[in-house]
Symmetry: C2
């Protein structure tokens, strides 16, 4: 059996009891590289799970899936991922590959930012389409997310903005060389996201999103040191929410009274 | 401390390790009535959690929150809810009440249908606004969800339809009597939801939703006997997906190739 196990939002105890039982009796357990970076350490997870973990980077999950799936028809193999397993297409693809090899599969769900974001007090059924905000470079400044934010605002819906995560990105210099070298991992902060959005607002690229639009910044959701701040978009460019992961929510213009009351505790 | 603990999608082992540790050391643990109905039984949960559980119906959670929160400033009190705690406004409200009493609060997240729905292969960031479909009566046939489904389809987005759950509803006869009697609990099936939607399509109330729109029916997501079926809306009126809970997804007209490939395994 091939198991895809979501290990949740924050630390080694966010795995479900069902997930932990599978990990402990599995023949081989892979830990997605990106997961291992946001968690305290691979060693902490190994100690608590009482299991040796094999690090699998995105390249391995995408290109060497045959290795991961080897013998999974007769053995129990598990891949651990942050949040819920189906947040990324990579994992959907992996399940498809397993099924083509007639390997039975099982999914162990967990919390992810897609539902945990409601801890800021905005109701999940008032959210529209989720967007991703990528890091800009000097020459590459995509802004397709802006149209979606405007469209949600126009329908009185909130927008969850997933912020860029760059893990094991080849350095620009190494792209032309034989030996690849990698940039240190970086995680977009709420401050950085707000700064990019403000650049678009200033250039009048946005129609509805304004510098005084209410935003909610969230960091380390589910952890003991979780932080939530509610302020305007322009104020958000000055907010430091500490270590990753961060998420940004653009709130609808009209809030439900309970949303309004809940949010008020996070206003700076 | 007052803990709001999501116990996940299906059975007693879907609680997180963190959640289970809190339950076992808590002074008082409430189990939301609605949760206790969809789970096998309160006794199964009590046995596995090694803890006596106090049943709390919606009325108690909403009207007698003072009893639930009593002494939570010096004791550890937990309320267990299905899925993730923040899917319902009732729980947001409970946290607000606790904070007004200066009771510290803690949320333990878990999977809910809002993120687990992605197990059907449709990507979460291609979903628009979520809608709720209520049971119609002979005289009361609200259809505000239809405009939202049409709006999502118009933006090439999928729609998650949460289907009505009626637990501890007073019978119509008892509303005028002194002693309340309650109807047996009922949970809307995918078949019932599709039938109501088809009635709207036939009456030409929908602009974009058609009888041949692709729909995905899901039942008991996360359980061993989980079922997923992909077919047209009109075909869905004939599909029996077994016991609750059910959810229905209205798929966007255009699918990503990986979505298309993944969905194909569920076509009947």
């Amino acid at each position: 059996m091939f198991y895809l196990i979501g290990i949740g939002l924050c630390d080694e105890k966010d795995i479900t009891v069902k997930g932990l039982e599978i990990v402990r009796r599995a023949d081989r357990v892979y830990l997605e590289h990106y997961t291992s970076i946001i968690w305290k350490s691979k060693e902490d997870l190994e100690k608590f799970y009482e299991k040796e973990l094999i690090l699998a980077d995105r390249e391995m999950v995408e290109m060497q899936s045959d290795d991961i799936l080897a013998n999974a028809d007769v053995e129990n193999v598990a891949l651990l991922v942050a949040g819920d397993p189906f947040a990324a297409t990579t994992h959907t693809d992996l399940i498809l590959r397993a099924r083509k090899k007639n390997i039975p599969t099982s999914i162990i769900h967990n919390a992810s930012i897609f539902n945990a974001v409601a801890c800021c007090g905005l109701q999940l059924y008032n959210f529209g389409e989720t967007v991703s905000i990528p890091y800009w470079t000097e020459k590459w400044k995509p802004d397709s997310f802006l149209k979606k934010i405007d469209s949600n605002l126009n329908s009185y819906l909130h927008t969850l903005c997933l912020l860029d995560i760059q893990v094991k990105e080849p350095t620009p210099e190494s792209l032309t060389k034989k030996i690849k070298s990698y940039s240190p991992p970086r995680f977009m902060s709420v401050k950085e996201a707000a700064t990019q959005l403000m650049e678009l607002v200033r250039s009048k690229a946005s129609i509805i999103l304004k510098e005084n639009t209410l935003c909610i910044g969230l960091s380390r959701v589910g952890a003991d040191d979780q932080k939530i701040v509610a302020c305007t978009l322009s104020e958000m460019t000055e907010i430091d929410l500490g270590p990753p992961l961060h998420s940004l929510v653009i709130a609808a213009e009209t809030l439900h009274p309970i949303e309004e009351e809940y949010i008020s505790q996070f206003r700076s």
